[in-house]
């Protein structure tokens, strides 16, 4: 068994898990944070994207034990005080989703992309979301939502 002390969305947790436990399983089953989805078993779909120490990663491909001591941000940590994060708001307003299954991962990947590149071109958005699949193929509105997110977040900084 591995002891994992982890900060998730600002709250410290301590859990004993099997060594083989994936981070996504600790988040979902251990901590009840089911906003992080598992869409595939092959590290391709990106539905499970969370941030570890500020970097977007696929939580189905990280052991919980590897994340010991880390600061993790999940989709549940995006809204503040009952108010959606600007990226969530943009996905809602632009209808950047169809079934919604991939949306938490898309939003966390978008947050990662805009951190590195606050004003991406359409091509950079497409490449920046290469690790995320939308099987409804709703990419056009997802790209719109990312553009709006960049605009809103950019004007907030000014």
């Amino acid at each position: 068994m591995a002891k994992v002390e982890i900060k998730v969305n600002g709250t410290k947790h301590s859990r004993e898990v099997e060594d083989r436990t994936l981070l996504v399983d600790l988040l979902r089953d251990g901590l009840g944070l089911t906003g992080t989805h598992i869409g595939c078993d092959t590290t391709q779909c990106g539905c499970c994207t969370v941030h570890i120490n500020g970097r977007a990663v696929k939580s189905c491909t990280v052991l919980a034990a590897q994340a010991n001591g880390a600061d993790v941000l999940t989709i549940e940590g995006m809204a503040k005080d009952g108010k959606l994060h600007p990226i969530q708001q943009a996905f809602s307003e632009c209808h950047g989703l169809q079934c919604g299954f991939c949306t938490p991962g898309m939003i966390m990947a978008t947050a990662g992309l805009l951190k590195d590149n606050p004003d991406p071109t359409e091509d950079e958005i497409i490449h920046g979301l290469e690790g995320n699949l939308c099987r409804c193929t709703g990419y056009i509105n997802i790209i719109k939502a990312v553009k709006q997110s960049a605009k809103v977040l950019g004007s907030k900084k000014k």
Binding site: D41, A56, T61, V62, Q66, N68, G112, L113
Partner: protein
């Protein structure tokens, strides 16, 4: 995933000692290949020895005409390093198009080189740029390191510490990636080095290889036209649902021409 024990190594030395006394243990660096492999129960190591967090493996520095990259440097680190961009911009570009952003935030150069996937990008950089793979036991020249599909010169328990790239006069990488996996269907690194022109091809064959005919032709004339009609041994190229052998052979030719054109522009 089968049950296993996770061990967080405190140093490379400790990891090496652990591997020496546990022959069924495997190293964990970024985990971008081994964890998916374990999830599919394609491997059953006794332990995973984590070296991914070790700062001693993360350094990137330019010194004495070489770019030295720690084996634990993540693809994101290499893609965004000012030191890499200045010394070998083609290496930064290559690192920035590996897999996808989430993979680049975890995957490491040492892990990629140790795994030697026939469609990975870094093997083309190591072989094309004539790098030296420095391990806990010795220094291995690129030409002696790659031994075909998923095979390398590494002995059991040997850990890659860093990769040393002699800074070339110019270099360029061009890749046709598989749209779903991001792996190279064909990737070509061309480098104009002190020791001559080197052309390394990944993705097409059973492992990275040097295209000697192209090296000879480009040494005479560094122009895309110089590659026209050259012999390219392709009888062992991969053939699968993604592409036929002939398709991959053509891709190698096209990627090589693009890399030459890019290299000419970078000078």
């Amino acid at each position: 995933m089968y049950a296993l024990s996770y061990v967080k190594a405190k140093s490379v030395k400790e990891a090496a000692e652990f591997l020496a006394s546990n022959p069924e243990a495997k190293l964990l660096s970024g985990g971008m290949t081994i964890i998916p492999t374990l999830k599919q129960r394609l491997a059953k190591p006794s332990h995973l020895v984590d070296i991914g967090h070790l700062q001693e493996l993360r350094g990137i520095e330019a010194k004495g005409g070489k770019l030295v990259v720690g084996a634990g440097a993540k693809h994101f680190d290499v893609a965004t390093s000012a030191t890499v961009a200045k010394a070998i911009p083609a290496l930064a570009e290559l690192a920035g198009i590996i897999g996808d952003p989430q993979v680049r935030n975890m995957g490491t150069m040492g892990g990629s080189i140790a795994n030697n996937d026939p469609a990975a990008d870094y093997p083309a950089a190591v072989l094309g740029l004539n790098a030296t793979v420095v391990t806990t036991k010795r220094e291995i020249a690129a030409d002696q390191y790659f031994k075909g599909m998923f095979a390398t010169a590494l002995a059991d328990g040997e850990i890659i510490v860093r990769i040393e790239y002699p800074v070339p006069k110019a270099a360029a990488y061009s890749k046709f990636h598989h749209p779903a996996s991001g792996y190279a269907m064909a990737g070509v690194m061309i480098a104009d080095t002190a020791g001559g022109v080197r052309v390394a091809v990944t993705g097409a064959g059973p492992g990275v290889f040097r295209w000697k005919e192209a090296e000879a032709a480009l040494a005479k004339s560094m122009k895309p036209e110089a590659l026209e009609g050259l012999a390219l041994k392709s009888d062992d190229f991969n053939e699968d649902i993604h592409a036929t052998r002939a398709y991959r052979e053509n891709l190698v030719r096209v990627m090589a021409k693009r890399a030459v054109a890019k290299l000419a522009k970078s000078k």
